[in-house]
Each structure stands twice: as structure tokens, then as C-alpha cells.
């Protein structure tokens, strides 16, 4: 059996860390090959080496049995390798067609000739069922469509080896299904697909073979039909992983947060983004607010944590009206917030790990005296937290958080919020973009918080998370609470009806 790509003994180091340690990967022509691993296992690095973004210190790359030197993405392109990055590389005010031809424009007497290109794009779109409108502006089309434009770019360049870096992270469930179909289609047409993921379901449903990476080393390459999810997750994390959240029934006690008739006006249009919302959270329970992205969850959380102004209604916390209290007042009185966007709100990426851990507590007596920071206690505490929460980074407490992997950045935030020993923990999509090991850890932490008598308000888009973690579910649709459910007695389909606005009931 001949291989289309052979990456032999690849070693790539970064200061303080070996991202790829002597990895040998062989890809067959026409297969869908998944690359599985935790955050920071070295998947993206390995693919970047193949695509010419990084240069490996050691090892060689063979394409169709011949050794190749790939110094930059143009070389990669020359060898027929294309890549769809996690964050798309598209020009937003260009049309689909313009984006596709960018860099390989065809000319007629020195003048841009788009008609030929358009025909080709339409033909390709047809052949692979991409349903792309060549004249649409990128800014006007959905994220799923933008991804297809990226795929089309590779096809237009006649790439034979297609790399996908976590292609489903940004997609809705329906878009994921369609992408899976497209990928299968591509493989049937003889293209070779390499895709990076940490979602086991996707591997089981479309990949032919899977290579598992852990801490920079290749653990194994397996045929997908000979393994199951449990085995894969164990290989990936290096220990047994509970895919199910194990917890006892909730024993809720007093109400800690009561929201009454809350409204937040949108700053873009006349409508309320949060419209007459009332609910309460009790100690000892995890209340989950489920919903499709963009239905007012963000503004609801901003209102609860003080990041935005409330236009109508009241928020009571431990019986006190905190509707107009400051962010600082809320955070020092036991409301912790794991924010939705860890780069926008959660971390100061240019500060190091220790400095980020004191983001809300730097003014407390432990960390300062007369306005001067007490570095010895800041760093000793940081070291303790790093050990307690198993946060991994190159330089421990002195690591700049920008250089850390997403999962470990999230751990920093979770650690910081839980260390304050809050009474109410508001967690917004706490597991977004994380691998199973980290997800398990965060879910366990949420349940622990609940069991120690804290109230947890979880905002999540992932149905599986909603079903498995929460004790009580409320569904939000267009800024209103439209349904409630008991996770033990509801099916995902029923929740889906509420989430899409097809069904609604009065909340008691």
C-alpha cells in the first residue's frame, strides 16, 4: 500500500515545550484521517508543519514517496496541500468568487478575467453539492457557507490533500451534518482528508482511520471501525474518562438569585434583547438556560454581572436589590462569572498567569499593602492554584497567558472564579472549544460547586451539556423564556422545539 503523505520522525520545539516529539504519520490516498488529541497535544502544530507554516527541527515529509521541502504555504499548495483554518482567511467585503480566485487570478491580455473562473466555481460547487452563490458577499453569508468557500478555494487550486482544523467548532448542528456529507463526498471523489478534532462523535461517523496525539507524542493510529468512543477518549487523555456526568439528585435549598421582569434594550434596534425575564436560582442546583446562540443569553448575563445597564425589572441577590450595583460590588459579594468569550473578557492575554489569577482580587489585603502589590504572595498563591487545578503551561506562574492553549486558558479562568469561593457561579459556555478531558473536569467542578451548596447558573448552547449537567432547564428564545423542562424527563427533540420557537409555554 502506498501512502500519499508520509511525515517521518517530525520534531518541532517551541521555547519550553516540545510540541511534536518524533511523530510519524502515514496517510493513505482517498481516506479521511482524523487527528485526535487534547488541547495542546500538538495536532495543529503538526498540520502547520505539513502546510509550511512552521519548520520542523527534525524529520522529513514524503509526498507520493518523494521527499519534499515545504517552506511556506505556497510550497504546500504546489504539492496539492490545502488547509481550512479554524478562523477563516477570507476578505469580508469581497464576493465569494473574488475570494476564491484571490492569488490565482486568471488574466486575459493583462486584464482580470472572472467569467472563466466563475464557470469553474459553479461547476465545482455543483460537483460537490456546495450550493455556493459566486456573487454573494462574504459578509452576507453564514459561517457554514464561509467554510464552504474555504473548501472551494482548495478545490479551485486543485488541491488533493485537504486539511481541516477543527472544522465543526464554529458550526450549528445542522451545518455540521452537511459538512460531514461534503467531506464524505470529497473523499469519494478521491481527495484525501486530514482533519483535526477532539469530538469523538465526528470521528466515529466519518473517519476511516484516526491518529491519536498526546502531549506531543503519537500514541497510535487505528482503524475507526475497530475502536469505540471510550477507548479513543482513554487513549487521548491517558486515563479513563467519564463521558457521562455522574451526579446525585439536586437538593436545592434557599433562593439566592431572583430575577424579576428583567428587560435589556438592544443598542442596535428598538427591541429588547432580554424581554421580561423572570426566574430564580437556588443553592444546591444547577439551573441551565438553553437556547440557540444570539437569543439574548449574552445580554442576560451582562445584566446579571453588571456589564450592561438594566432598563426595567429587578435583580435580587440574597434578598438585596443589586440591579444597579457595580461589577466590583457583585464580584466581591460572591457572584463569580466564567465569561462566554475568554479572550474578550476572561483574560488579559499580555499579563502572565499569576497576574490573571488576581484580576478581581488584586486589591485585597493578601495581594497588596498600601497600594503596592505583594509579589511573593501573588506568585506563591499562583503556584498553589496551578497545582490544584493542574494548569499546564511553559513557564508556570510566569507564563504569558497568550502563549497558553485554549483549554488551559479556560482552566485559569475557572480556577480564578472558584478560588473566590462564590455563592453564585454564572458559567457561560464554560466548555466551548475544549476537549473531553477538560470538559469532564469542568463539568465535575460545576457539580462539586453545586454539592457544596453553591448555586450554579449555566448558559449553554450544547444540548448534550444541557441534558447531562443541569438539574433544571429553562429555554430562552428571542430574549424571552419560552419553556422549562426537567432534564430527566425531556428529550432533545422537545427542547429543540422550544429552542427554535416552535413551541412555547408559560413559565411558573
Amino acid at each position: 500500500m502506498s501512502y500519499i503523505i508520509e511525515m517521518l520522525n517530525i520534531t518541532k520545539e517551541f521555547p519550553g515545550i516540545i510540541a511534536n516529539d518524533d511523530i510519524t504519520l502515514r496517510i493513505k490516498k482517498g481516506e479521511i484521517h482524523a487527528l485526535l488529541g487534547e488541547n495542546g497535544a500538538g495536532k495543529s502544530t503538526l498540520m502547520s508543519v505539513l502546510f509550511g507554516l512552521y519548520k520542523a527541527e527534525n524529520g522529513q515529509i514524503l509526498i507520493n514517496g518523494k521527499e519534499c521541502k515545504i517552506h511556506n504555504p505556497n510550497d504546500a499548495n504546489h504539492y496539492g496541500i490545502g488547509m481550512v483554518h479554524q478562523h477563516f482567511k477570507l476578505v469580508h467585503n469581497f464576493t465569494v468568487l473574488e475570494n476564491v480566485v484571490l492569488g490565482v487570478e486568471s488574466l486575459k491580455h493583462g486584464i482580470l478575467d472572472m467569467s472563466e473562473a466563475e464557470e469553474k466555481v459553479i461547476e465545482l460547487s455543483h460537483k460537490y453539492n456546495l450550493f455556493i452563490e459566486p456573487q454573494a458577499l462574504i459578509a452576507d453569508i453564514s459561517v457554514g457557507m464561509q467554510q464552504r468557500v474555504e473548501i472551494l478555494k482548495m478545490l479551485y487550486r486543485k488541491n488533493e490533500i485537504l486539511i481541516f482544523d477543527e472544522p465543526t467548532a464554529v458550526l450549528t448542528p445542522q451545518e455540521i451534518d452537511e459538512l460531514m456529507k461534503i467531506m464524505k463526498n470529497l473523499a469519494n471523489e478521491g481527495k484525501t482528508i486530514l482533519f483535526i478534532t477532539h469530538k469523538l462523535n465526528e470521528i466515529m461517523s466519518i473517519a476511516d482511520r484516526v491518529s491519536i496525539l498526546r502531549k506531543g507524542k503519537l500514541i497510535d493510529t487505528l482503524d475507526v471501525d475497530k475502536v469505540n468512543k471510550e477507548q479513543l477518549s482513554e487513549l487521548m487523555v491517558g486515563r479513563k474518562v467519564m463521558l457521562e456526568v455522574i451526579k446525585d439528585l439536586a437538593k436545592p435549598t434557599e433562593e439566592i438569585l431572583v430575577v424579576k421582569d428583567l428587560c435589556v434594550k438592544s443598542n442596535r434596534h428598538q427591541k429588547n434583547t432580554v424581554n421580561h425575564v423572570s426566574f430564580s436560582v437556588r443553592r444546591g442546583e444547577i439551573l441551565c438556560i438553553a437556547g440557540i446562540e444570539g437569543n439574548g443569553q449574552t445580554d442576560l448575563v451582562y445584566a446579571l454581572t453588571g456589564l450592561t445597564k438594566v432598563d426595567q425589572g429587578h435583580i435580587f441577590y440574597k434578598g438585596e436589590d443589586i440591579t444597579h450595583k457595580s461589577i466590583r460590588y457583585r464580584s466581591t459579594h460572591g457572584i463569580a462569572h466564567i465569561p462566554e468569550d475568554r479572550h474578550k473578557h476572561g483574560l488579559i492575554l499580555d499579563y502572565n498567569l499569576a497576574q490573571n489569577l488576581i484580576l478581581q482580587t488584586y486589591f485585597k489585603d493578601t495581594y497588596q499593602k498600601n497600594g503596592f502589590l505583594n509579589f511573593s504572595s501573588i506568585y506563591t498563591n499562583a503556584e498553589k492554584t496551578i497545582d490544584r487545578f493542574d494548569i499546564r503551561s511553559g513557564n508556570r506562574s510566569k507564563s504569558i497567558t497568550r502563549s497558553m492553549s485554549g483549554g488551559n486558558q479556560q482552566k485559569v479562568i475557572v480556577a480564578r472564579e472558584i478560588e473566590t469561593n462564590p455563592d453564585l457561579l454564572i458559567a457561560v459556555q464554560p466548555t466551548r472549544g475544549l476537549d473531553v478531558g477538560a470538559i469532564e473536569y469542568i463539568h465535575k467542578t460545576l457539580v462539586e460547586q453545586r454539592d457544596s451548596g453553591k448555586a450554579v447558573l449555566l448558559i449553554s448552547l450544547e444540548l448534550s451539556e444541557v441534558m447531562s449537567v443541569s438539574d433544571r432547564i429553562l429555554v430562552i428564545y428571542e430574549g424571552e423564556l419560552v419553556g422549562q423542562a426537567d432534564p430527566l424527563h425531556v428529550t432533545p427533540q422537545e427542547l429543540g422545539l422550544f429552542m427554535s420557537g416552535s413551541k412555547r409555554e408559560v413559565i411558573q
Binding site: E13, F14, P15, K55, E57, T305, L307, S326, I327, R328, Y329, R330, S331, T332, H337, P339, K344, H345, G346, L347, I348, L349, D350, Y351, Q355, L359, Q360, Y362, F363, Y367, Q368, G371, F372, L373
Partner: protein, 362 residues
């Protein structure tokens, strides 16, 4: 050595030194060209030597006094720009804050004779800090409350400050006569620094500038206040999330930045040198030199002390350079090249890291 260079701070230092080297090489090329075309300027190496030594080869210790005199205001305006930059703001209004502060100091030193003369200069400097701070505060308030870009508001305030001062100088009668604005009464004391540097005009101003730089360093790196301000600068959203009052941060930061430039003006206009308030409606160059100094010092307060000295040295080399038959402007070309190169310092640092990591790997 490689490890040493790979450390963040050292890499930055290296980048700045590279910028200086590039400027020197470029300046030398200009000297070579000049030597080739102008018969008078026949010793380019001699010219370069004059520049590198800051002209001190002719003037010796007395010349060093002049360097200190030049360095004093630009260290402070450099700190002003650098401090704002560290907190995420671009204060381009140092020139306006500088001239307003300078006027306030001179006014107090001349008019407030009810204060004992030996303390009057201190009150004058405090006045310059206050008025410079006020000038910065305006930009800060506009930015925080009305979201007016601080670059635009501070540029406009440069001109407003300049015209205000030239109007006031005319309006206020003697001894603010524009032809002799030299402060007759209370000057900044020298504490013997003038005799130390061969009867020069050095006074305690340079000591104040260095102490202020150290103070700013401590504020930025060691205090909770600096932690807050830098947090606002790096990521305003995250600072807000953490309960830091970002608007207060912006206002304070612009005020402090303005106060630093104001003090720079105070230290110049009530010193023993005869500095006349300019009637020709030209922005004072100390303000813009601050941007260069801050860039070359990579906004680090300690780095700014050194880059301030360096810019002072270059400036001092101007006149002696003409002795070797070259035009003074060569120094300006050199300075500008260095500033350009230091704006690219990030690229140097990246290349350096890449180069070194590749070597370490092998």
C-alpha cells in the same frame, strides 16, 4: 548568551540597539556621500566619531552638561508618551502640555513674589504639573465620557495651548515682555551641578527627571494602581469585567501623562537658560521628541532615561559636527532613521527569536 537574548526584556534591548546601529550606519553613509561631493567635508570617519561621542571630544565635561540640559525635558516628555502608551493611550499632545506647563511655571516664578524666593521654584514646578495635567485631563475626559479619540483631541490641544501661551505672553504686562522672558527671580537651584560640569547651565532638573522616571516605573510595575491602568491598556473589556473602572483609568492616565509633559516645560522655562516663549506659532519640538524617546526606550521608564540621554547626546553633536565640515542636519537624519528603525523593533525581535530558536534546536 542565546538564553539571555531570548528573555523578553533583553530581546527588546537588543532591538533598540539594533535600531541605533542602523541609524548610525545610515548616518555614516550620508557622511560618506557628503565627503564625496563637498570638498570641505573630507573626513567622514572623523564626523562619525564626533557624533558617537556626542561632540564631547571638543567640549569635554562642559559639553556633557549641555547633554544633560537637553536630556531633561525629553526624558519627561518621553515618560509622558510612554506612560500613556503603556495604558493603551496615545498622547500626541505633549507639545501643548509642555508649553502650558512651562508658562504656568514661569508665571508663578515671576508674579507670585509673595512666596519666599527659595521656595518659589518648587511652587512653579507644582504649577506646571497641575496645568500640564489639566491639559491632559481634557483629552482624558473627552475620551472616557464622549469617546473622542485622544490622538485627535490632543493634537488640537497642542495648537490651543501654543496660541493660548503666545496670547497670554502679550496680554500680561512686564516682566512678561516677549523680548525678555528670562525668569529673573526664582530659578531652579543647581546644588553645585553647574560648577561640576564646568560652569554650565545644569541644574537639579535632570535629577528630578530621573527620579520621576523611577517613580513612574514603580507605579506601573509595583502598585495596584499601575496594575489597573495597564489592565485597561491591554484589554479594556477584561478590565471592566474585573470591576476596574476603565473610564477613571483613562482620565487618570491622560492626566498623569499631561502632568509629566507639563513638568518638562516647567523645568525648561524656569531654568537658568534664557528660554523665550515663542511668538512664531511653532509647536515646541520637545513635545514630539518625547514620542521618539518613548519609542526608542520601548515605553519602559528606565529605558526612557537612557534614550533621553542618547537623544540629548545626538543633539549636542550638531554644532561640533560642523567643525568637521558637515552640516548639522546629518544628526537629524540619523535621529529620524533611528526612530524609524525602532518602530520596526518588533520585527527585529521576531527575527532574532526565530534565528536563535532554530540554532538552539540544532
Amino acid at each position: 548568551m542565546k538564553k539571555w537574548l531570548l528573555k523578553e526584556g533583553n530581546g527588546k534591548l537588543f532591538a533598540s540597539l539594533m535600531a541605533i546601529l542602523i541609524g548610525m550606519v545610515f548616518g555614516f553613509i550620508i557622511l560618506l556621500i557628503a565627503a564625496a561631493v563637498a570638498p570641505k567635508a573630507s573626513y567622514p570617519l572623523d564626523g562619525l566619531y564626533t557624533i558617537i561621542t556626542g561632540g564631547l571630544r571638543y567640549s569635554g565635561i562642559k559639553g556633557f552638561g549641555t547633554v544633560l540640559r537637553y536630556a531633561t525635558p525629553v526624558i519627561l516628555t518621553g515618560l509622558s508618551v510612554g506612560f500613556a502608551f503603556k495604558t493603551g493611550l496615545f498622547n500626541i499632545g505633549a507639545a501643548g502640555q509642555y508649553v502650558m506647563g512651562g508658562f504656568a511655571a514661569a508665571y508663578i516664578a515671576v508674579k507670585w513674589t509673595f512666596i519666599p524666593l527659595e521656595y518659589l521654584w518648587i511652587v512653579g514646578l507644582l504649577g506646571s504639573i497641575l496645568v500640564g495635567g489639566l491639559w491632559g485631563l481634557i483629552s482624558g475626559l473627552l475620551k472616557a465620557l464622549r469617546n473622542v479619540n485622544e490622538v485627535i483631541s490632543s493634537i488640537m490641544l497642542n495648537y490651543i495651548g501654543m496660541i493660548t501661551v503666545s496670547t497670554l505672553v502679550i496680554l500680561i504686562p512686564d516682566p512678561f515682555n516677549p523680548s525678555r522672558t528670562k525668569v529673573p527671580l526664582s530659578q531652579i537651584p543647581t546644588f553645585g551641578l553647574d560648577t561640576l560640569f564646568g560652569k554650565n547651565t545644569v541644574d537639579v532638573g535632570i535629577v528630578i527627571a530621573i527620579l520621576v522616571a523611577i517613580m513612574i516605573y514603580v507605579i506601573l510595575e509595583k502598585t495596584t494602581f499601575g496594575y489597573e491602568l495597564k489592565a485597561c491598556g491591554f484589554n479594556r473589556n477584561a478590565a471592566r469585567y474585573a470591576g476596574i473602572n476603565d473610564k477613571r483609568g483613562i482620565i487618570l492616565s491622560m492626566t498623569i501623562s499631561g502632568a509629566l509633559s507639563g513638568l518638562a516645560g516647567g523645568l525648561v522655562y524656569i531654568s537658568s537658560i534664557t528660554k523665550v516663549f515663542d511668538q512664531s506659532l511653532v509647536l515646541q519640538k520637545e513635545g514630539f521628541d518625547g514620542i521618539s524617546v518613548a519609542l526608542l526606550g520601548l515605553s519602559n521608564p528606565i529605558g526612557i532615561i537612557f534614550s533621553g540621554f542618547f537623544i540629548g547626546m545626538l543633539r549636542n553633536a550638531g554644532t561640533p559636527l560642523s567643525r568637521s565640515g558637515f552640516n548639522e542636519e546629518v544628526v537629524r537624519i540619523m535621529t529620524s532613521t533611528i526612530i524609524y528603525a525602532s518602530a520596526f523593533s518588533l520585527i527585529f525581535r521576531e527575527k532574532l527569536t526565530k534565528f536563535l530558536t532554530r540554532k538552539v534546536g540544532k
